[in-house]
């Protein structure tokens, strides 16, 4: 890639920890007061860079300009900090304020208690309470992710967190996943969302959520389970039909024996030489006593039986395959650019991927610099996550909500709940997955629930419905960004609205809003 004056290579950028978002926002609003209107190109670009526009995002754009904003998003100088009331809400959740190990220990204690109870009503009630507890934790994890997506100042990063969460999809209702779901998105996915792809693969491999979901916690010498090995190559890195064989799947399964979730009880004593080979990282454990130490051959490479190093070696081999660069680039382009991304664009991104050793930020830079991105403005249909997040961003424009539960209900109804994909392939990225007649009707109904204020977003849980409030969508933000380019049919519809609520509903239902 040629360096352009506007886009110094990322290697040259300082990867600073967050400068206060308040500083940037403060400067942004000051500059915004006499800023000129955004051009159509600015609006279109920014709608792709974010889940959707809100005033703070527009102000930041005006203040920094496109390339500086983009650079700061990629190197993390735009923070993940949320508005104080949202942070307070999240911090009130057990899933956010309790370390993962503690949550799992609590679970073990609950299970022990139940196990020792005599059969009967009390035991049944205790079991039910435990299920409820697990469901509460999952729901908190879902809410935390939604709140980050809506309020996170670094919208590009928030989109990437969602993208990877979907790419490395785990199903919340399986086993102990509910107990570690919040940890998975915030501590496994988020820190690597814009880093090296290989590190992201290793982070998911070392997460209790993935080990549990794809059964590798059960994969041991003599008891081989090939589920994770297969999906690691098929869904996470190489793609089906990219050349690996059934033999490769079986060899990788052997390599992965012993990788799992750390035990919560004191482990049996090991001989010192074996104990040395144990690897612990948070709740991940590699247990040499469960590992198959034979030599293996993966994708034509000989791997000496040695323990945990086999795993890192295998991940290196896999993520360096050209098929991996191609597969990941195509999925990114499918998410951000087009249901059928132009092959030239994917090839360009894959070249960047290979040249930079899988640097996600560099690949994004190639994609956002491309003419193919600009050519796709207004043609990409929002998936339900994008629709719900963008509707709330547009309608509430940064105003903190008090209750995130309605967000989850809407995503459920639209068929794309967070942690809700039963199978490990993640939700579809193309419009045919979301634009059937049944889904369109649902989408209009949810637009109505948001547009009319007939929802409980502003009503804290447990309080009776306040009622009466509806958001105001005819704002400065709307006139600066949407009004000028509405299609004639949408303009007709808005003119027929008899109330502000109906006007809001029509706007959120319109193709102009649902395509970006």
């Amino acid at each position: 890639m040629q360096d352009s004056p506007n886009h110094p290579t990322l290697g040259a950028r300082l990867r600073l920890a967050a400068v206060s978002a308040l500083l940037i926002l403060g400067a942004g609003s000051a500059a915004a007061r006499d800023a000129r209107p955004l051009s159509q190109d600015d609006v279109d670009w920014l709608r792709r860079d974010s889940f959707e526009l809100d005033s703070a995002t527009v102000a930041m754009y005006r203040d920094l300009g496109r390339s500086r904003l983009f650079d700061r998003q990629l190197d993390g100088r735009i923070s993940d900090d949320l508005p104080a009331p949202i942070t307070t809400l999240i911090n009130s959740y057990e899933a956010a304020n309790t370390p993962t190990e503690q949550l799992l220990t609590n679970l073990r204690d609950e299970q022990d208690k139940i196990k020792n109870m005599p059969e009967g009503d009390d035991k049944a009630a205790a079991r039910k309470a435990q299920q409820q507890h697990a469901n509460d934790l999952l729901q908190q994890a879902q809410e935390i992710e939604m709140l980050h997506a809506i309020y996170g100042p670094n919208q590009l990063k928030e989109q990437m967190v969602w993208f990877w969460l979907n790419h490395f999809s785990v199903y919340g209702a399986k086993g102990r996943v509910r107990w570690v779901a919040a940890d998975y998105v915030q501590n496994t996915i988020r820190p690597h969302a814009l880093g090296k792809f290989r590190d992201l693969v290793m982070a998911t491999l070392e997460s209790p959520a993935m080990m549990e979901f794809l059964d590798n916690a059960q994969n041991a010498k003599g008891h081989v389970n090939e589920n994770y090995a297969r999906e690691l190559m098929e869904l996470h890195t190489l793609g089906v039909g990219s050349g690996y064989t059934q033999q490769d799947v079986q060899q990788l399964a052997l390599i992965l024996t012993g990788a799992g979730v750390a035990p919560l009880r004191d482990p049996a004593a090991m001989r010192p030489r074996v104990a040395e080979m144990v690897v612990r990282n948070g709740m991940f454990e590699f247990n040499p006593r469960r590992h198959d130490f034979s030599d293996k051959v993966l994708l034509g490479h000989k791997i000496k039986g040695s323990g945990f190093d086999e795993i890192t070696e295998a991940v290196d081999i896999i993520t360096k395959q050209p098929a991996c660069a191609q597969f990941v680039s195509k999925k990114l382009a499918e998410y951000f650019v087009s249901d059928n991304p132009p092959p030239e664009l994917v090839a360009k991104m894959a070249r960047t991927f290979q040249r930079t050793d899988g640097d996600i930020a560099e690949v994004l830079q190639t994609m956002f610099d491309s003419k193919e991105l600009a050519a796709s403005y207004g043609k990409k249909f929002k998936d339900p996550m994008q629709f719900v997040v963008s509707s709330v961003r547009m309608a509430y424009d940064g105003k903190p909500i008090a209750n995130a539960k309605p967000l989850l209900n809407w995503l459920n109804q639209l068929g794309e709940p967070v942690f809700g994909r039963l199978t490990p392939d993640g939700w579809p990225l193309d419009s045919t997955g979301w634009s059937s007649s049944g889904q369109m009707a649902k989408r209009f109904e949810i637009a109505g629930a948001i547009g009319t204020g007939n929802n409980r977003l502003l009503t804290p849980e447990g309080q009776p419905k306040m009622g009466g409030d509806f958001p105001m969508l005819t704002t400065r933000l709307y006139y600066d960004t949407f009004d000028a380019k509405l299609s004639a049919p949408t303009r007709d519809a808005l003119a027929k609205a008899t109330t502000q609520q109906e006007w809001n509903t029509f706007l959120l239902s319109s193709p102009d809003f649902n395509y970006r």
Binding site: N225, T423, S435, Q439, A441, F444
Partner: protein, 400 residues
């Protein structure tokens, strides 16, 4: 109705082509038109613990913890003998076995596709596409959609959250509706028409209009039905509730339907007559029985086929589960199905007959089998069948 009348009615339906409403589905189908429901078990169910090859010692050697005991009148957890080789998982004793005794169920072992990826997603898409694996050309076209296109008087619907690939690419909108939630409409006619109007110039025009329209119609019908049946909450608690609603719609309005059921990917502790697989099978069996029941006499005019993307490893794995395999068992049910038998080409179940020393081979390609069945149901011509399953060799297993 005799089989001959069934076929005659079918042939008439295929040629009758009344003028269509907006998208060709919101009208009652002619009486006596056959109806077909495809049930897709997503996750690759373990067919070997549905249709138990109890005559095979190899089965018992391969599954030390998962095998289901040979038929034994004194053991309620033993397989129900269907013939000298095959038995049924006893969790289906009260739901599917009575239909078997009425000769309304046939099983087709060694069924599936030529897709060898053993990937759920690849193989599901492959089956739903209906094209041969090495000739797939259109990744957004499914065989149910093409079948629907051949028969204008056979309105189609998917009972799913999203439109499945099977029903994509028909050229006209095929509606989908999830029967798990409350389908009550929230917009009046004026609002619905304004909302639909915004999409008039887009590719989603018919999806937007049909979605709004279908909600009005379906909701009314299901509300009435539910009041009649005196049942409470509209939330379908399980598959049986859902199939009763499906039956209501299939009975009156639709002739070609699709529903999927997930949760069959049992790598760990799948169980045999209890546990995850047994629960799923039991739920499925109750749902299919409820569907048959709710259709009443119209069950005689109905065919249900249950498919899955693949079977599983014949041997159990180290965690009392099974991994991805190849050939599986399909089910064919219906009041006039030529059932009570194990249909299609078969091979002895032993180590030598396994594919890659791992799983069932596919001897009955789904394209050939479904082509033969659907062709017979609706009296489709050879060229019509070719457009549904390009390049297939439809085989008539005399299932109807």
């Amino acid at each position: 109705m005799k089989r001959r009348e069934f076929l005659l009615a079918a042939a008439t339906a295929a040629v009758a082509a009344p003028a269509l409403s907006f998208s060709g589905k919101l009208f009652a189908a002619p009486a006596n038109t056959p109806r077909f429901l495809l049930v897709f078990l997503r996750g690759g169910y373990d067919c070997n613990n549905l249709l138990v090859p109890y005559g095979s010692d190899f089965y018992y050697e391969s599954r030390p913890t998962l095998a289901i005991a040979k038929p034994d009148p004194y053991n309620a957890n033993s397989a129900i003998g269907l013939d000298n080789n095959w038995g049924l998982n006893p969790v289906l004793r009260d739901s599917i076995y009575p239909l078997w005794q009425k000769r309304q169920v046939a099983f087709i072992p060694f069924a599936g596709t030529d897709d060898m990826s053993r990937s759920h997603f690849e193989t599901q898409d492959n089956i739903e596409s209906g094209e041969s694996t090495d000739q797939r050309s259109n990744y957004r076209s499914g065989f149910m959609a093409r079948l629907s296109g051949q028969m204008s008087a056979v309105p189609s619907i998917a009972f799913t959250d999203a439109l499945p690939l099977s029903f994509q690419g028909s050229g006209h909108d095929i509606p989908n509706i999830s029967l798990r939630g409350n389908p009550k409409p929230v917009y009046d006619e004026r609002q619905a028409s304004i909302l639909a109007g915004m999409y008039r110039d887009t590719s989603l025009a018919s999806a937007a209009a049909d979605g709004l329209e279908l909600r009005q119609t379906v909701s009314k019908e299901l509300q009435e039905e539910m009041m009649k049946a005196n049942r409470g909450a509209p939330n379908a608690k399980n598959f049986a509730d859902e199939t009763q609603r499906i039956a209501t719609m299939m009975r009156d309005q639709y002739r070609l339907g699709f529903v999927d059921v997930g949760g069959w990917d049992t790598h760990v502790n799948q169980g045999s007559t209890t546990g995850q697989l047994a629960n799923n099978l039991s739920n499925l069996g109750k749902g299919l029985a409820a569907y048959a029941d709710a259709l009443g006499d119209e069950w005689n005019n109905t065919v249900v086929v249950v498919v899955s993307e693949f079977g599983r490893t014949f041997r159990e794995n180290g965690n009392k589960g099974t991994d991805h395999g190849h050939g599986t068992v399909y089910w064919v049910l219906g009041g006039k199905v030529n059932g009570g038998r194990i249909a299609g080409q078969q091979v002895a179940v032993n180590a030598q007959s396994l594919l890659q020393n791992r799983d069932y081979p596919v001897l009955n390609n789904y394209r050939d089998v479904l082509g033969g069945l659907l062709g017979r149901m609706w009296g489709l011509s050879g060229s019509q069948l070719q457009s549904v399953f390009p390049g297939a060799h439809p085989r008539d297993l005399q299932l109807v």
